[in-house]
C-alpha cells in the first residue's frame, strides 16, 4: 500500500523523539522497541502492514494535548488508533508517524439516567457502555459486530453502525457531545447533554472523519431504554430474489423493524456449522428480522411480517419464543465473519451500500464475478438499509490471490456506485478505498472535503494518506480560482 513518502529526517530522530515523548507522558507509555511495536503494525485489515515510528499510549486528555502540541511543533505525523479493529486500514501506521493509541482513555466518567446519557473516555469499548447501564434497563443502540473490542472513539471516527441502525441510527444519530484535541493541542468541546448542539454541526462533521480532523478524547452518547419487548424472526427462502422481495414489502407496508439482516447460502451454512444457531441450511437466503417496542405494537408487526414473508415465498419461518432463542438467532449472524473465516485461510470484507431494490441484480453480478475470479464469496447484508458485506475468500499464500481478491472487491464497489450506491456504509474509506473516491466524487467535491480538513488540521499532520486519493496542500486549496481554471499540480502526491 502506497503511503505518503516518509520523511527521513523524522525517522533519523526516532530515539530523540521517543525521549521527548517520555517527558510528556507518565509511566511506560512510549513504545519504541520493535518486538512491542509489531503489535501495532496493522489493524483489522491485516493485508497491509507497516511498523510505526513510535507508539504512544497517553492516559488522559492533557497527555494527548501535550503530545499533539509537541508533534505539531516538530512536524511529526500522528495516526490515531482505538482498538485497531478498522476494516479499511484507518489505523495503518506510517514509518515516520507516531501511532497514538487511545485505549487507555477507558473510564466511564458520568452516567446520567435522568438525561439518558453516558460520558466516557474515547477508549471505552462500545459494549462497555451498554454493560454499564444494562442493569438499570438501558443500552447504547449502535452495535457493530466488533462491539466487544472496538472503542467508542473508533466508532465516532468511522460512524459505526451495526444491525440495529435501520431503526435506531448510526453513531452520528446517537452522539451528543465530543471533547476534541486539535493538532495544535487546543481542546474543543462540541455539543452537550441537550438534543441539539449549538453552532455549526461540527459534531456531525467529526463523525466518520476517520481520524483526520482531530483526536477525540471524550464522548457523550445517548442511551435508550431497553424495549419492553423484542422478538426475532428467521425466514428462510430458496432464492435471494424472494428474500429481497420480502424486505421491500416489509418496508412498503410501513414497518420499520429494529433490524432486518440477510445472509446468503454460503454464509448461512458457515454460520450454522460454526455456532449451531438453528439456521435452515438448505435455504439460499435467510432473513433475520427483529420487531421491538410496546407489546401491542410488536404483536401487530409480528403478524404482518409473517404474512409478508409467507407471501414472498418463505420456505421456513420461525419466531423466537424466548429471549434466549432471540439471542441464539442473532448469534449466528454476529459470528458470520469468523464463521466464514474458517472456510479459507483469508477473507476480504467489502462494505458497499446500494439502494435495496438493486439487491438481486448486485448479488447476481457478484456471483458471476466470483466464477470469473475463481474466488468463493459469502454475503451478509444489512438488508434494511442496503449495506452489503460480501466476504471474498482467498489464500494470501497463493501467488497473486490477494491481488485477485482486491480486484474482485474493487469491481464490487464500482458496481455499488453504478447502481446508485456508495463505497462504504460503515467501515470507512481508510487506505483501502481511497483509490475509488474519484469514482464517487468530482475534484471539487474532494477539494471541499479537504478544505474542511484544512480548517481543523492545516498542516495535514493527522492521519495523512487515508481517505483522499491526492494530498493537496491547504495553501493551494485556499487559493480562489476566480476564473474557474484548475491549475495542474504535478508536484502533489497522488496514490
Amino acid at each position: 500500500m502506497e503511503m505518503p513518502a516518509p520523511d527521513h529526517r523524522i525517522i533519523s530522530r526516532r530515539r530523540q523523539i521517543a525521549r521527548s515523548l517520555r517527558r510528556l507522558v507518565r509511566g511506560e507509555a512510549v513504545i519504541d522497541r520493535a518486538a512491542e511495536l509489531s503489535a501495532y503494525e496493522s489493524d483489522g485489515l491485516t493485508a497491509y502492514r507497516q511498523m510505526p515510528l513510535i507508539t504512544v499510549l497517553p492516559a488522559d486528555r492533557d497527555e494527548v494535548a501535550a503530545i499533539l502540541r509537541y508533534c505539531a511543533h516538530e512536524g511529526i505525523k500522528i495516526v490515531p488508533r482505538g482498538a485497531g479493529t478498522s476494516l479499511s486500514g484507518g489505523a495503518l501506521p506510517l514509518a515516520d508517524g507516531i501511532t497514538l493509541g487511545l485505549a487507555r482513555l477507558n473510564r466511564i466518567t458520568d452516567i446520567d439516567i435522568a438525561n439518558r446519557t453516558v460520558t466516557c473516555g474515547s477508549g471505552v469499548t462500545n459494549l462497555a457502555i451498554s454493560t454499564a447501564v444494562g442493569g438499570r434497563g438501558y443500552y447504547y443502540a449502535p452495535d457493530p459486530s466488533s462491539q466487544v473490542a472496538c472503542t467508542i472513539g473508533g466508532n465516532v471516527a468511522e460512524n459505526a453502525g451495526g444491525v440495529h441502525c435501520l431503526k435506531y441510527g448510526l453513531t452520528t444519530n446517537n452522539l451528543l457531545a465530543l471533547e476534541l484535541v486539535l493538532m495544535g493541542g487546543e481542546v474543543v468541546r462540541l455539543g452537550g447533554k441537550q438534543f441539539d448542539a449549538a453552532g455549526l454541526d461540527l459534531l456531525g462533521a467529526m463523525t466518520g472523519s476517520e481520524g483526520l480532523l482531530a483526536i477525540v478524547t471524550e464522548v457523550t452518547v445517548r442511551i435508550l431504554k431497553t424495549p419492553a419487548r423484542a422478538v426475532a424472526f428467521l425466514a428462510g427462502f430458496d432464492s435471494l430474489e424472494n428474500a429481497a422481495r420480502c424486505v421491500s414489502e416489509v418496508i412498503a407496508a410501513g414497518i420499520i423493524p429494529a433490524a432486518m439482516e440477510m445472509m446468503d447460502g454460503p454464509a448461512i451454512r458457515a454460520a450454522e456449522a460454526y455456532i449451531g444457531a438453528g439456521y435452515p441450511t438448505e435455504a439460499e437466503a435467510l432473513l433475520i428480522i427483529e420487531a421491538d417496542g410496546p407489546q401491542a405494537e410488536v404483536a401487530a408487526a409480528s403478524a404482518r411480517i409473517e404474512a409478508i414473508a409467507r407471501r414472498a415465498g418463505a420456505t421456513t419461518f420461525r419466531v423466537s419464543g424466548s429471549e434466549a432463542e432471540r439471542l441464539a438467532f442473532w448469534a449466528g449472524r454476529k459470528a458470520a465473519f469468523p464463521a466464514v473465516g474458517r472456510l479459507a485461510p483469508d477473507y476480504y470484507c467489502m462494505d458497499g451500500t446500494i439502494p435495496r431494490a438493486s439487491l438481486p441484480l448486485v448479488l447476481g453480478r457478484i456471483s458471476e464475478m466470483s466464477r470469473r475470479y475463481g474466488l468463493a464469496v459469502a454475503n451478509v447484508f444489512h438488508a434494511g438499509d442496503g449495506n452489503l458485506h460480501p466476504l471474498i475468500l482467498y489464500d494470501a499464500n497463493k501467488d497473486g490471490e490477494l491481488r485477485q481478491a482486491e480486484e474482485f472487491g474493487t469491481e464490487i464497489l464500482r458496481l455499488c456506485v453504478e447502481v446508485g450506491g456508495v463505497l462504504t456504509g460503515e467501515h470507512g474509506v481508510g487506505v483501502e478505498k481511497r483509490h475509488l473516491m474519484a469514482e464517487v466524487f468530482t475534484e471539487d467535491d474532494l477539494k471541499h472535503q479537504q478544505r474542511l480538513k484544512c480548517a481543523f488540521d492545516p498542516d495535514g499532520l493527522l492521519n495523512p494518506g487515508k481517505v483522499f486519493p491526492t494530498l493537496h496542500r491547504c495553501a493551494e486549496l485556499g487559493r480562489l480560482h476566480v476564473h474557474g481554471g484548475q491549475l495542474p499540480h504535478p508536484e502533489l502526491e497522488r496514490f
Binding site: 452520528t172 438534543f195 405494537e297
Partner: protein, 414 residues
Amino acid sequence: MDRLIEPLDEDGLRAAIAEAAADRRTLAVSGHGTKAGLGRPVEAQAHLSVARLSGINHYAPGELVMEAGAATPMAEIETALAEAGQQLAFEPPDLGPLYGQPIGGGTIGGVIACNLSGPRRPFAGAARDHVLGIRAVSGRGEVFASGGRVVKNVTGYDMSKLLTGSYGTLAVLSLVTFKVLPRAAATRTVLLFGETPADAAATMEGAVDGPWDISAAAYLPQLAGARSGVDDVAQAGGPVTALRLEGSRQGVRERTVALRAALARSGETGELHATRSRALWAEVGAGVLLPKAGAGGDMLWRLSLPPAQGIAGGGRIQQALGGEVAFDWAGGLVWCAPAPAETPEAIDAGAAMLRRITNEHGGHATLMRAPEAVRARVPVFQPEEGALAALTRRVKENFDPRGVLNPGRMFEGL
C-alpha cells in the same frame, strides 16, 4: 440591497456566486424568504434567491428516500409524502406565523439550512439526522456534492451535516436528498390536567422511560394552553401535560388505555384523537402558543437544554425575567417569551441573564424572534469562544474566503 439575482439552475447559481466572490460583493441568500426574521440581520449588496431551484426530482417510497431542489415548497413535499403514506419523521415546524407569514410556506432547503425539527425530535432525530446528501455551491463559486441516496454512508466527510443548520453561511444548497419514513396509521395524545411544573417533569421523564413508546411530550402552562385551537387544551383552566402515541390502530388504542391508567393517580386525564392530536403538535412545534409579537412577545427564545434540566431552567428564567414559558421535547426544549423590557439596556441585561441561566443548566439559547435592531445587537445564536470560535472562523474562511454568503447571519463579523 436593491439587486435581486434569481438563477434558473445550479449552474446559474454557481456563476452568480463566483461572480460575487470575484467582485467581493456580499449576498443575502433566501428560498421563499419565510425565515428572514430568524438569525442576525444580514447586510448584503445583493439578494440571491434560489426560488427557481424547485421540484421533486426523485422519490422512491420503497427506498425511503426523496430528492428535491432546495426551494421545493414544503407543502409540495408533504403532499407527495402523504400520498405514499410517508412523512418527514423530524416533523419540521411551520414557523411562518412566528414571522408574520401565512401557514404552509417555506422550502425544504430552508428547513435544512436552519436544521428545524419539531416535537418528534427527541424520539426520531433532528432534520440533520435525516439529510442523506446535498449539492451546493460554496462561497468560492464551486459546486460540490456530498452523501448520496442511501442511509448508511461513510464515503468521505459528512458535509451534508456541516451544511445543515449553517444558515447559508458556508454554501448555498441547490439539491437535498433526505430520508423519509412511514407515517403511523394512528395517533393519539393523552392529556394530563393540572400538574405543577415539578410533577410534569417527573411525568415526562417517566413517560419517556415507560413501556408506551411515546413520540412527543410537552408541558403547557395555562396561558400557553389557552392559546391553543384545540378546545380540550384551551379550556383546561390550568396547565396541561401532553403525551403522544403513534403506531398501529390497535396498538395505539391499547397503549392509550394503559398510559391513562398509569397517569390516573396524578390527576384527571383526557385524550385527543387524529385531527386534534395533529393540530396540537403543529402548534407546539411552531411556537405559536407563546405570545405574538406586539402582544408582549417581541422577543421569543428557544432553549435547548438537557431534558431533565428544562423545567427547572425555564422556571428560573421566568422567575428572573417574567413573561411566559412552554416546554416541549420532554423538557429538552423551552420556549421563552420574557416580559417586555423598556430600554435597550434592560433588553441586553435580560438576554445576558437568560444566557447565563441557560449555560448553568448545560444548554444553549437561540433568539428566534426579536426586532431587527435587537437581533443586530444581542447574539442570536450561542456565542462561541476561544478555540471553538477560531475553528468556526476557519471553517467559514475555507468555504467562503471572501465572506460573500449571508455575512453575519450566525455570528457577528463572520
